[in-house]
Amino acid sequence: MIEHFHRPVTVRAALGLKRRFTTRAVFLAGGTFVNSNAFPLAPEHCISLAGLKLDRISRSRGGVAIGALCTLQQLIDDRKVPAPLRVAALQVVSRNVRNMATLGGHVASRLPNSDLVPTLVALGAKLALAGSARKVPVLDYVANARAGLITRILVPASGPGRVTACAHHRASANARSLVSAAVSLNPDRGRVRRPVIALGGVGGHVVRLTAVEKRLDGKPLPATDELQALVSRAVRPASDHVASAAFRRHQAGVVVARAFDAARGRKAGPS
């Protein structure tokens, strides 16, 4: 049970509190994870990020900077946010949750089947961490369990012709995604240039399928069955109580293929 609630108004103060209380303290953004019954820790100290003024979205020539405390609904409602990320945010189906959950909190939760992280990876997003000038790629953060308080998510402007899209598989409307994918590419007269494929739900964290990306780069996109098989062979999910490994492998291929379809503007039928 939280006994002490801290309301720092500067990032520096927030970091100071975390240094002081270390593992007894937790940062609180929207609260949809930290305050839920699924949160595994029982911190004494809660460091609220609400006073840090990290809820703004700004556009520059280099891209869009999204404050870590922006809610998912805020992303959807703000046209400065790149369309693929707004679409991905809608995959968190509950509006109630979207009104609370923040983008920074979502990334920091490192969900293996995150609905948004694959899109952030595909968009080449980086994280600004408090107290560090270096910008950390989102994948580096989630895959390598990087420490650090996320202050902003920096989504670079897509280059000319660059397209990005996501696809997900879930068994019912509000279920967690079984697998989630996002791809980014430059279509070039029937060929795929510089593809990025990010995939969630096939391991402990979102991954990038770099080997598949290399196979595809510069070539015509293979037929759906071939692309799907290529992806399925590239992943090694485990069986669990939700799905067999075979099914996850299959759906991994399917969602990547569907994401490619969506990116290239091809309509996909009911999932």
Binding site: M1, I2, E3, H4, F5, R7, L28, G30, G31, T32, N35, S36, N37, A38, C46, S48, A50, Q73, V93, S94, R95, N96, V97, N99, M100, H169, A171, S172, A173, N174, A175, R176, T224, Q228, S239, D240, H241, V242, A243, S244, A245, A246, F247, H250, Q251, V254, K267, A268, G269, P270, S271
Partner: protein, 962 residues
């Protein structure tokens, strides 16, 4: 800490711990409309509030987060007692059923209409996307929002006129505001949890971590010694009484096979110990101090494992019978393990617990062997259904207290009188010492037909004298309340080439889990609500129900019929396919018709002899005709996606209306001073609209206004006996009892009017509004009342009546659907669903439609994705709403329509029959038939998950472990 916050327009300073959930803080501040359905997962939305104008889950907020913020709850909506436009729109659109999620929906609507003056369907779905409603099936929400939008501009706007029935009646068959609607849309104190005193103790349960084990040793001393702990209960200090928790009429066809706490534990979550303490936190802390040593046994998790030779025996018990003991009982009981206790059967239901057999029965008509020999085509198929849970948003909850020498039980139950009987027997006290008050029920769906926690709280209160609140967690609701029996059903059909059925055989193997609540009657209902739909002279059924170590099974809306209907109707589809015959033509050829006598029912009683029943009314013909047109049966639908195939399916369905010869209901009507009436009904409304129904029947009969009949219901001290709300009995039994009481009141009114006038009764009649006409002058009910209660009068007019019958009133229906199957993903999208049902005269049309939508969506859920997943040790791996997957508003079919097909039943009140449970019987077979139509694969195991569909399609390999 002190927290400044503005709540419903008033600046407040709340005292709260910083980490306290806002939901709990608000409830402590007497804002009762914020509910709890998911224990802080954020998956049900019942705790929705508006925080600075946006809908959020207050269970995911801690108190410190709301400092300086603005909160609105539903309590702000009505001005004084005048309901807001949104609230009236909800009531008038029939979307208020149990009411537990209604405040959340109202707030979501308020926020939505602030964003969009006239929202689209997609925007409505998005607004409600985080709020679970298990009752309504969401479909009528769209009309409610549309009406609310219009009323915000013009409060005088009328609801869109829906179907109306019976031009000869004023009230029955017409829309009418739900009598508890105003209470529920305002978030008034209504549910059990609202009744608990602030000093109530909390009861928490230590559940077994093992599916099958003995308690070798249990030490509760450290727990009992904790300050604030009032009582610790275990098998060592609970009543030594064996009983069954099934809320069925006595003597029950369910074995008395459990104690309050057993030494043997039979499922994960089974009762090990309970702590009653002065706070929930203390109770939880004390549970952690209880030390238990277990002897872990091998779990039995399936009917195949239970029936296997040498299988571990769950009830290695001494078996006893009240009547009808087999002659070799002593021999059978030899070697029983004393730790396993007893199993008492009230009468034989052909169980053999030492072989894990809880019950069995077989029977039939004609000669199936001959029928199969005569057949030109024979198919034999086996179907399997998984374990599903009804997930009422309000979990099981009870509040018990002492008043003088008596025990008062505030219950969220479907069966107040069964609760009283069962609890008083366990406590060893007479029934007059126990009062059960049925509060508003936040969804029952059958799970609240059983006494699954009431007796523990009752005992704790009886022993200690302390008030006790006991509420299941969501996880306990999954693993320790009631679920739909998993079944394996083998169906053998024989038919002539022209489609005429010559033989039907149904072999049901049901899994009751650890205890035998409803172990005979649920699987029998699988047969009795599916076989009589089809005309066949040679029919045989065989039912065997096994004990296993899965979470307990029991009653769930449909009561075995969804499983049986799935098997028999899909077998019909397979037979039609084998014959090369159109499925609709096959069903039309073989279906039941009005006036026929159903001989098969002779052997399908509830463990007792029964009688054949005539089909007194049947709307199947028009239902099939209308459905055929709606779905455009036979017209192929092309897909523009090469991966997607579209198909259509149909199933015919039936249910009963209570249990003739077993059920009974009572009601009374009293005339008040001004000519209005007080109706006392034993009927138990769990959100279905039964209260409104009985008021409408009485108002119709007595030629008075709906507002002139007030109602008290389901209080064992105040209202007369009623078996309870189960077996689709409400309309037929409780409704007919109320109507009989009104008829008796009518007789009395006419007699007294005649006396006042000094004229004969003949020629007098009741007339609207509240007057007796036909004499020399009109006599108002008010005048009659004054006359009877005066010092020279005959006394207040009170009429009491009961309803029992040996006549059945079967509702019928046909469900049609169109699905799109993505052969690459395995996903199934229900594009169209048309539910056409004959419930006789629909007494409350808009509420009847709501029952249908709700029943259909629940069963679309279990057809496509709902499933309790157990691991090899019997632990439920998805005992929460998010991972279990309950249908939400985005799961709706694209086009979803419930249609009432009118018939008039000669025995139902004003021709009415049941409407709710039957709605659960069509989805699985209709969707499975449609999947076959689309893809050519037969889905013989529900849910039809994408993984299973891909396996059937050969798109992925064999199962490689889960």
């Amino acid at each position: 800490m002190r927290i400044p916050v503005t709540i419903n327009g008033t600046a407040r300073q709340l005292e709260a711990a910083p980490g306290e959930r806002v939901r709990d803080v608000l409830r402590r501040e007497h804002i009762l409309s914020v509910r709890n359905g998911c224990d802080g997962q954020g998956s049900c939305g019942a705790c929705t509030i508006l925080l600075d104008g946006r809908t959020v889950n207050s269970c995911l907020l801690v108190a410190a987060q709301i400092a300086g913020r603005t909160i609105h709850t539903v309590e702000h909506m009505a001005k004084n007692r005048e309901l807001s436009a949104i609230q009236t729109a909800f009531i008038d659109s029939g979307v208020v059923q149990c009411g537990y999620c209604t405040p959340a929906m109202l707030l979501a609507t308020e926020a939505l209409l602030a964003r969009h003056e006239h929202p689209s369907r997609a925007q409505v779905q998005d607004a409600f996307s985080g709020i679970l409603c298990r009752c309504t099936g969401y479909e009528q929400m769209f009309a409610a929002v549309e009406l609310a939008a219009r009323r915000l501009k013009d409060p005088g706007q009328a609801a869109v006129k829906g179907q109306e029935f019976r031009d000869d009646l004023r009230i029955v068959g017409k829309p009418g505001r739900k009598v508890d609607g105003a209470r529920l849309v305002q978030g008034e104190k209504s549910y059990v949890e609202d009744m608990a005193a602030e000093d109530a103790c909390h009861l928490k349960l230590l559940g077994s971590p093992h599916a099958h084990a003995y308690i070798k040793r249990i030490d509760t001393r450290r727990a009992a010694a904790m300050p604030g702990v009032v009582l610790v209960l275990t098998h060592e200090n609970c009543p030594d009484v064996w009983y069954n928790q099934a809320g069925q009429g006595f003597p029950e066809p369910s074995p008395y096979d459990r104690r309050m706490f057993g030494r043997k534990l039979l499922h994960v979550g089974d009762r090990v110990a309970a702590v009653v303490a002065e706070s929930a936190e203390i109770a939880r802390a004390a549970l952690a101090k209880i030390q238990v040593e277990y002897e872990v046994l091998e779990p039995v998790l399936s009917v195949d494992a239970a029936a296997a030779p040498g299988a571990p025996v769950l009830h290695d018990s001494v078996v006893e019978y009240v009547t009808g003991a087999p002659p070799d009982l002593a021999e059978r009981n030899r070697g029983a393990d004393p730790r396993d206790g007893r199993v008492l059967y009230q009468f034989p239901i052909h169980g053999d617990p030492r072989r894990n057999l809880a019950a069995s029965v077989s029977g039939g008509i004609g000669d199936v062997a001959r029928g199969l020999a005569e057949a030109e085509v024979v198919i034999e198929r086996e179907y399997e259904t998984s374990q599903v849970q009804s997930t009422p948003v309000e979990p099981h909850v009870v509040y018990t207290r002492i008043e003088g020498e008596r025990l008062i039980i505030h219950a969220a139950t479907q069966v107040p009188w069964h609760v009283r009987r069962i609890v008083s027997r366990i406590l060893g006290i007479s029934e007059n010492r126990v009062r059960v008050i049925k509060e508003r029920v936040g969804g029952g769906f059958g799970a609240k037909q059983d006494v699954v926690l009431e007796e523990v709280a009752a005992w704790a209160t009886w022993v200690t004298g302390r008030p006790v609140l006991y509420r299941f967690t969501r996880e306990e609701e999954f693993v320790a309340s009631r679920t739909r029996h998993p079944m394996k059903i083998k169906v053998t059909l024989g038919a002539k080439r022209d489609g005429a059925l010559t033989a039907m055989k149904m072999e049901v193997r049901a899994n009751t889990g650890p205890y035998g609540a409803h172990c005979l009657t649920v699987p029998m209902n699988s047969c009795s609500k599916s076989l009589p739909l089809l005309l066949c002279e040679n029919v045989h059924f065989d039912v065997r129900t096994y004990y296993t170590n899965i979470p307990p099974a029991g009653a769930y809306q449909g009561y075995g019929a969804p499983q049986g209907s799935y098997a028999v109707q899909l077998a019909c589809a397979e037979m039609a396919d084998a014959l090369g015959m159109d499925l609709l033509a096959f069903l039309e050829k073989n279906r039941v018709r009005e006036g026929l006598v159903l001989e098969i029912l002779r052997c399908l009683g509830e463990g007792r002899d029964s009688t054949p029943q005539a089909v007194s009314s049947c709307g199947l013909g028009p239902a099939l005709e209308q459905g055929r047109a709606l779905i455009e049966w036979g017209a192929a639908v092309a897909s523009d996606d090469p991966d997607v195939r579209v198909g259509k399916g149909v199933a015919i369905i039936q249910q009963g209306s209570g249990l003739p010869g077993i059920d009974s209901a009572n009601a009374s009507v009293a005339l008040l001073g001004d000519g209005t009436f007080m109706l006392l009904s034993g009927g138990t409304d769990m959100g279905t609209g039964l209260d409104t129904l009985v008021v409408k029947l009485v108002a119709e009969c007595l030629c008075t206004g709906l507002g002139d009949v007030s109602l008290i219901v389901a209080d064992t001290d105040v209202t007369p006996y009623d078996d309870g709300a189960y077996a689709s009995s409400g309309t037929y039994f409780s409704g007919n009892a109320a109507l009989n009481a009104a008829r008796e009141m009518r007789r009395k009114l006419l007699e007294v009017a005649a006396e006042i006038l000094g004229e004969p009764v003949a020629g007098l009649e009741l007339a609207h509004p509240s007057v007796v006409r036909g004499g020399s002058r009109p006599v108002t009910y008010a005048e009659i009342s004054r006359y009877t209660v005066s010092g020279t009068g005959s006394g207040q007019l009170v009429s009491a009546a009961s309803f029992t019958t040996d006549k059945a009133a079967f509702p019928y229906g046909a469900h049609f659907c169109q699905v799109a199957v993505n052969t690459r993903t395995g996903g199934v999208k229900v594009q169209k669903y048309f539910a056409l049902q004959d419930c006789g005269t629909p007494i409350n049309p808009e509420l009847a439609l709501g029952q249908m939508y709700g029943g259909v969506l629940k069963t679309i859920g279990h057809s496509l994705f709902e499933e309790m997943v157990l691991d090899e040790r019997g632990r439920c791996r998805n005992a929460n709403l998010l991972d279990y997957q309950v249908p939400m508003i985005h799961d709706l079919p694209d086009e979803f329509r419930a249609v009432l097909v009118e018939t008039t039943d000669p025995f139902g009140p004003y021709g009415g029959k049941s409407v709710s449970e039957i709605a659960c019987n069509g989805a699985a077979p209709a969707i499975a038939a449609a999947i076959h139509d689309a893809t050519g694969v037969w889905m013989r195991s529900w849910p039809f998950s994408p993984e299973k569909i891909l396996r059937e399609l050969g798109r992925i390999g064999g199962a490689d472990g889960r």
